[in-house]
């Protein structure tokens, strides 16, 4: 899985395709879609559905997703949103609220079309709204860097808004996962919200102070880079275990742990690089390949659904973020550039969909639609930005 995904990613890189696309393609090739279809014997031999191998692979992918959200959290910097001011705040808020509302309304009023046959309508609509509102920071950052727009005003607003949307998206998703266990017990839901807020507040205040005090000691006195690597990932898993124990998915804990550590001024850039390299190049490919192993993409590909999800995602995000940017004082061209910049969904959308699929919140057809939407929006983000902004060479 690791070798093939790396080879596919390197081939994809040559033609400027997102790395995640190569990894998913390998999963599709090795999974029921291709290998499973043409040679079920080899497919079952390599990836048995039952038994120890299956359990081990499931465990690895669960750990992988926890670590991936940890590194995503490392990059979230709320002070960037504050620093960029009104434009970033309005872009972030409307870039989140409008696609969320459009997604929610779509799933609420057309549940059957959006593959909700038997799930709680409210929860399903909440999830779909969240899925429509999320952005992918790594893809966006790469796009902006390639276009030499990273340090421009537009670039910084896009990055700030993507960070905020990621943060809010994962908070809401975790709440949804918590609510799945409580049904319409509002007291339990209120308690869930209190737990999340309390945990988040603790990690971002007292937790951050403890991290600030500990990191210099660890980076100076412990083995390098083993010390900081194992202890930060250890914290990631501890926080993940905590949120899992209070009824939320472990990704919430790891995401917040990532924010707390990433926000620390004491974390050396080199340490951050090493953590990124370790997770992004070992565990992330395993996760994305496993997505293709899970299901038959051809059998679960519903063109109407894919098209609808794509259109709703694009319209909601582009219009929401554009209006937000315009209200923040930018002109319409810049605003639309920001809208399309934020439209790239990439890996975050795929992770969200995968977790929802595993939890039984969505079915395979919706998951495939989300994956296709994530890839298409990531591929077409840069060309559309260029339509609206003259980019300096």
């Amino acid at each position: 899985m690791l070798v093939l995904s790396r080879l596919a990613a390197e081939l994809g890189r040559l033609v400027k395709l997102p790395v995640v696309m190569g990894e998913i393609i390998i999963g599709i090739v090795l999974g029921p879609t291709i290998l499973g279809h043409f040679s079920p014997h080899w497919h079952n031999l390599l990836f048995p559905v039952f038994g120890n191998v299956s359990i081990a692979l499931d465990g690895i992918t669960k750990i992988s997703v926890v670590m991936m959200l940890f590194v995503a959290g490392l990059e979230v910097q709320m002070q960037l949103v504050i620093k960029q001011g009104k434009a970033a705040i309005s872009t972030s808020l409307l870039g989140m609220l409008i696609p969320f509302a459009v997604g929610f309304a779509s799933a609420w009023y057309m549940p059957v079309f959006f593959e909700n046959q038997d799930k709680d309508k409210f929860l399903y609509a909440l999830f779909f709204g969240t899925a429509m509102s999320i952005s992918a920071l790594p893809v966006i950052a790469r796009t902006l860097m390639d276009m030499n727009m990273f340090k421009t005003k537009i670039g910084m607003i896009i990055i700030a808004a993507a960070m905020f949307d990621d943060l809010m998206g994962w908070l809401i998703f975790s709440l949804i996962m918590g609510m799945m266990g409580h049904g319409k017990n509002f007291a339990a839901i209120a308690l869930d919200i209190a737990y999340i807020l309390g945990f988040g507040l603790f990690m971002l205040t007292i937790g951050k102070k403890i991290i600030d005090k500990s990191l210099p000691l660890i980076q100076r006195k412990f083995s390098w880079p083993g010390g900081v690597l194992s202890l930060s990932l250890g914290l990631c898993f501890i926080c993940g275990a905590f949120t899992e124990s209070i009824g939320f998915h472990a990704v919430l804990g790891s995401f917040i742990a990532g924010i707390a550590i990433g926000d620390s001024v004491k974390l050396k850039p080199k340490a951050r690089d090493i953590i990124h390299q370790f997770v992004t190049n070992v565990f992330a490919p395993l996760f994305f390949v496993s997505i293709g192993l899970k299901l038959n993409f051809m059998d679960n590909f519903n063109l109407n659904l894919v098209f609808a999800v794509l259109i709703i995602a694009i319209i909601g995000k582009v219009i929401g973020a554009s209006i937000g940017a315009k209200l923040g004082g930018l002109n319409w061209r810049e605003s639309f550039a920001i809208g399309f910049g934020l439209n790239a969904r990439g890996a975050m959308e795929i992770i969200l969909g995968s977790l929802a699929l595993s939890a039984g919140l969505i079915n395979e057809k919706m998951f495939v639609a989300l994956v296709v939407m994530a890839i298409i929006t990531s591929l077409f983000s840069a060309p559309f930005i260029k339509l609206f902004v003259k980019v300096e060479a």
């Binding site: 002070q79 949103v81 620093k83 920071l137 790594p138 966006i140 001024v265 690089d273 990124h276 992004t280």
Partner: protein
């Protein structure tokens, strides 16, 4: 005084220097340093005391002024009652103050950090340049090492020029401009999708772009007999340069004034100047370019 005269007024020369006077153990040292700067820049000195005009305090201040040797022809004292921060800020506007000198602790307790002390609040909001002195002394102290934050901002050109003016008046031969290199999200992107040469190229291009902008500013300067070094540090803006100044035992750190109004959220999600104000590495000069 017409406060509109403040708009577009250049940040230097320092024609009027004000000093915030509080009857604390450091008052004599603060006044001494203010006098030194007023003499160096040939400025008028305004002493601001916020509080009721008390004959005992008046007398004590008079004694100090005479002891330090402040020229009465080029100085005056203003006594005003009111909320300290607002009153000082208003007085600075009304008196067209170019440089306000205040004493400040290097680090404050958690409550004061979030709620804001007088010195920090003034630093955030003043419409003139502010010089925060962490260890004022009543003996002559020579400023030798000055570090300037070369952040990519339209104000930086004014800050660098103001620093050159400061250096020239204080007979300092060398300035160091430090650029902070920080690009959020880049680490994740490089990890995923770049070969080693590509990653190095990205990092080098980031630095080159920063250096090019600073070199353009330096070329426009008419700074005779002044060595200007340019270097860079990687890390969070504000914190990285503060750390640099501390490690290099600098005497003065010079930065731009804040671009926006700063609130408690800027302390909760600490960034830029807030990192520096949280733990002053040395004396701090905040240049207000008034653009």
């Amino acid at each position: 005084m017409d406060a509109n005269k403040l708009k577009k007024r250049p940040p230097y020369p320092f024609e009027t220097i004000a000093v915030a006077v509080a009857f604390s153990p450091r008052l004599e040292a603060l006044l001494y340093e203010a006098k030194q700067y007023a003499d160096t820049f040939k400025s008028n000195l305004v002493m601001l005391h916020i509080g009721e005009k008390d004959p005992k305090k008046e007398e004590a201040l008079e004694v100090l002024i005479q002891h330090i040797g402040i020229d009465k022809n080029k100085s005056r004292t203003i006594w005003m009652d009111g909320e300290p921060t607002e009153t000082i800020l208003n007085l600075c506007k009304l008196n067209i103050v170019d440089l306000l000198i205040i004493g400040a602790l290097e680090k404050e307790n958690l409550y004061k950090f979030y709620m804001g002390s007088i010195a920090r609040n003034i630093s955030r909001r003043a419409k003139c340049s502010v010089l925060l002195l962490t260890h004022p002394s009543n003996k002559p102290v020579r400023v030798k090492k000055i570090v300037i934050n070369g952040v990519d901002n339209p104000k930086t050109e004014y800050t660098i020029n103001a620093s050159a003016y400061f250096a020239k008046a204080n007979k300092i031969k060398e300035l160091t401009i430090v650029q902070e290199i920080d690009m959020p999200g880049v680490a994740l992107t490089i990890a995923e999708n770049s070969t080693a040469p590509e990653a190095l190229k990205i990092k080098r291009e980031m630095k080159d772009e920063a250096y090019t902008k600073i070199n353009c500013i330096i070329e426009k300067m008419t700074a005779e007999n002044l060595d200007i070094n340019v270097t860079d540090v990687t890390g969070k803006p504000g914190y990285a340069i503060s750390n640099y100044a501390k490690n290099k035992h600098c005497d003065l750190l010079v930065i731009n004034s804040p671009d926006t109004h700063l609130s408690i959220f800027d302390r909760i999600f600490t960034h830029d100047i807030e990192h520096i104000l949280a733990d002053l590495p040395c004396n701090l000069l905040i240049v207000h370019s008034r653009i």
